[in-house]
Symmetry: C2
Subunit: 108 residues, 2 copies
DNA sequence: CAAAAAGTTGGACGCTCATCAAACTGGCTC
DNA sequence: GAGCCAGTTTGATGAGCGTCCAACTTTTTG
């Protein structure tokens, strides 16, 4: 039940994925999603300390790049990584980023 | 032969590498370097069609991020990818990007 | 020594982007 | 239905970035 626009797996663009990953806030979002699985917007925003509209902006970039999938349930939206889709489209790419995040953390 | 400032392998930062890759011009530079090996600045700039100072700007971002190594020889500078260093620091990351570039090209 | 060749640097311009605040939308609850 | 809840959208602001041009440095060549 996803009302929001997501790119199909074959339509995911490398440059857009890399651009979406090239921001420390979004890297931290991706890091948390990889460790904690599916999260709501408020669940994600609670530890970041930015305005909710700023977070919404980042969710959109992540979603439109193809990195995340957003599912609506009631008035909440659950966000998760599209790990399988990205593995099909760009094998090893997301997983190596997640591995790098585990090694050095979002700031390293 | 004074060497330019390059980060040590352990000092390469994930966010900086991703930011360096998040530009279509730099992605094309990385693509050409991966297919043709070591190239000079003019060799790289010949097919891109941007001003040489603009290219110089991109070379610096790539070098300072840790993606490339620049070696001076006479009045020319040779640029190549730091594939082994990056493999040590972030296993699979650069190689998966290069693989993605081979599949879809710098614009896909 | 003068001129060319290969890049770099600094300034300027326009555009994008991250951020916040306020208003808005759709869904739930009392 | 009134009011709250979870996010989004719009507008404004300030910082950063990609690009070009001109001037500069360094190295090679005539």
């Amino acid at each position: 039940m996803s009302l929001l626009p997501h790119p199909a797996t074959e339509e995911i663009q490398l440059a857009e994925v890399l651009r979406a990953l090239a921001d420390p806030v979004r890297l931290e979002i991706v890091d948390r999603l990889s460790r904690e699985g599916e999260l709501t917007c408020t669940g994600l925003g609670s530890e970041v300390g930015l305005h909710k509209s700023t977070m919404s902006h980042h969710y959109r970039i992540l979603r439109e790049s193809g990195l995340t999938l957003t599912r609506q349930e009631g008035r909440r939206k659950f966000i998760r990584l599209r790990r399988e889709d990205l593995e099909k489209r760009f094998p090893g790419l997301l997983e190596s980023v997640l591995d790098a995040l585990e090694r050095t953390g979002p700031q390293g």
